[in-house]
């Protein structure tokens, strides 16, 4: 069985079980390991990717469900918001172990792409699905605000 979709801007056909979660399809079949496995139940956000620009949990999204649609992983981030988020993450030295940070960056980017000036409550709403066991939360919050500022500047 093969599934065709747009992966990081490129038309892609993956030959895999259509029920295989998108997470494992992008990691093991497409060979893009930046998206991480954390819980397998959409509880931690480590596997966050963009589907048509929306942050989704790829660990519970069957490959077949993305047929014909646009998927972006951490490897394919290009937007102004994404670059601002990554720059702010470096500036504020957000990561510790770093394992959850692909998912954090993906969630933060999706937030800024639809909300240029998120409040703390907006950040709580968009980011509380992404667990960081190193608890880098204060810096993530500050980095999202900093990224929003840098886009406006």
């Amino acid at each position: 069985m093969s599934t065709s979709f747009v992966l990081n801007g490129k038309p892609t056909t993956l030959d895999a079980d259509p029920n295989m979660p998108l997470l494992w399809a992008v990691r093991e079949v497409a060979g893009l390991p930046g998206t991480k496995f954390g819980c397998g139940m959409a509880l931690c956000g480590a596997c966050t990717v963009h589907l048509e620009g929306q942050a989704i949990r790829s660990c519970v999204m069957p490959l077949a469900a993305v047929a014909g649609r646009r998927v972006t992983t951490i490897e394919g981030l290009q937007s102004e918001a994404a670059k601002a988020v990554q720059a702010a993450w470096i500036e504020l030295q957000v990561p510790q172990c770093g394992y959850c940070q692909s998912g954090q960056v993906m969630s933060a980017t999706a937030l800024l792409e639809k909300n240029a000036s998120p409040t703390d409550a907006d950040i709580d709403g968009a980011m509380s699905g992404n667990i960081c066991r190193c608890a880098t939360y204060s810096r993530i919050r500050a980095a999202i605000h900093a990224a929003a500022q840098s886009i406006k500047a």
Binding site: D17, G40, C44, V94, C97, Y99, R133, T136, Y137
Partner: protein, 731 residues
Amino acid sequence: MATETVAPGQATRRAFLKGAGTVTAMALTIGFEWAGATRRAAAIAAPSAGALFTPNAFLRIGADNSVTVIAKHVEMGQGAYTGIATVVAEELDADWSRVRVESAPADAKRYANLAFGTIQGTGGSSAMANSWMQLREAGGKARAMLLTAAATEWHVPVEELTVEKSIVYHSGSKRQARFGSLVGRAAALAVPETVKLKDAKDFKLIGHQVPRVDVAAKVDGSAQFTLDVMLPGMLVALLKRPPQFGATVKSFDATAAHAIPGVVKVVQVPRGVAVLAKSFWAAKQGRDALAVEWDDTNAEKRSSAALMDEYRRLADQPALSARTEGDSAQAIRNAAHKVSASYEFPYLAHAPMEPLDAVVKLTANRCEIWAGDQFQTVDQANAAETAGLDPQQVSIHTLYAGGSFGRRANPGSDYIVEAVSIAKAYGADGTPIKLQWTREDDILGGLYRPMYFHKLEAGLNDKRELTGWRHVIVGQSIMADSFLAGMIKDGIDPSSVEGAASIAYAIPNITVELSTTRTGVPVLWWRVVGSSHTIFAVEAFIDEVAHAAGEDGFTFRRKLLEHEPRMKAVLELAAEKAGWSSGPMPKGKGRGIAVAEAFETYVAQVAEVSVDEAGHVKVDRVVCAVDCGTPINPDIIAAQMEGGIGFGLGAVLYGTITLKDGRIEQDNFDSYRVLRMNEMPKVEVHIVPSTQAPTGVGEPGVAPVGPAVANAIFAATGKRIQVLPIEVNTG
């Protein structure tokens, strides 16, 4: 077990808590290191090897001017790679932008943690403390050799040379040379016996805001974790483990598992039944389809509630003394005012974001391992024993660990041994095999922070002065039944009582006792180890005592810490920065304070909480003061305090692992709750300036947050928190 790798009397956690013992071990090891390094330097002097300067086990300088620092410690988020590289680069005067870090191979001779004796591993917040002088000398001696090389080439006195950002200058002749152009000549030199290290006032990197070496790769998804290891022909293995600790495989039927496309083989190993497949998804489906019948004859079948009942009873039975000063029984008996309380702590899982995983490539005479390895030479020995090889035949590639909090350093090397046993059962034919744990495997998998019951009593005299203190701790030993059992002295596992037996308050009569229990639930150190429960008990109880004495929690503590200047100083700093004396908070809000010493680092925290009418607790702000000796990287210290506070807070608010009839009742982040973004307080970190030897920061920040929050809840509501997690009390 890895008994042969432990030097008796050296690898004690207690030993590395004591500065003097650590310094002695350090000096000896440096001597040894440098004897070896001299031989290596000579070997590299061969004509063909001019492109590389490898003056010691920690440093490599290339003709391209690259500086590679070899890290003997794992990078699991705590910033060890950056700290290690900073110290070497400081004494070397290297260009920070050209410094790279590479992980060391497993090698107890070259890369032992000097605080652990002869074990290579990371723990006890010791990475920077044990490496400090070793790495300064490594950098300083290499710099001296590069200077000698330049002086010889230019025929000028070495004293006239200066170094900045990997370039050697001679101002008199206006000459300069990059490190890279000197490596050939430097490599031919003997390593100097001694070297003058920098004065702290001359530090350019240490104490400054040096960016982490690992951040860029952790922002674009390119950092490589064990999960990301993909080798040609690699199989993914998932292991079905028993539903109760101690149960074993009676029989299994793999028919349905084999029917899953992609499943390659099903093998039985000592810990369960493994499904090997061409993909994670196939292995997962195969494992789900596997039918296993378990033999629970020797399984732990009790519930945690029943265990806690037993612990409560044991707290009133005679126990072993961990510390006795004066006569606390008499002091409390004769006291004008008596205070007593008990505290209950649940089992806790570490739950690092990267579930445990390891890749193993095993043949008849070689075992190659890739892992976010926190206990390299212990894992090497255990892997060797499992494979039937010598430790020298086992090599370990240490990768970034996606968190650990102690979990990846365990005496039995559980996840490594599982992976090797699966590779062996598969046929040891060199097929790379990745053992992947799921989150459920992680939460259900044991090696928890032990459950504990604490009982405390105190007596105050008629002047309301604290005269007697009795503290009884009941719970499992982390070190028993492992190669660390030798550290248990007179029945006392030091990791069960640290933070309690070492209580710093000036109290004339003190008794600290331990009753060690046994259960079938495997336990392990968890970030800040004993102080994850002892500091809560001590700091929550001293608050109760202060209240009984009619005094403010801060002034009461300060009075009892006159003889502990560093502890007193962090207490005062935290109180000052938090505005402790600014008067009472509005209704429904409260402020609490706590102070701790853990791994020779001093931390005080003031928490501010809001409690709504339904009893729901929100921690609004935590102000933290820390004294960790010389601050090597202030931003990483702040990050570790922030992270430690968030980690500790999640545990005290929500964290609990419970058993019903021996079965764990939590299995993922829905039932095992951890702190999330919306629950993170504002955190302010204040670092005490110091030129003392650096101590660790990975763990100590976790210790005071729980009691600071509990004391703040009391200030807000008048209710004491004595059973954890806090959510159990407040709904």
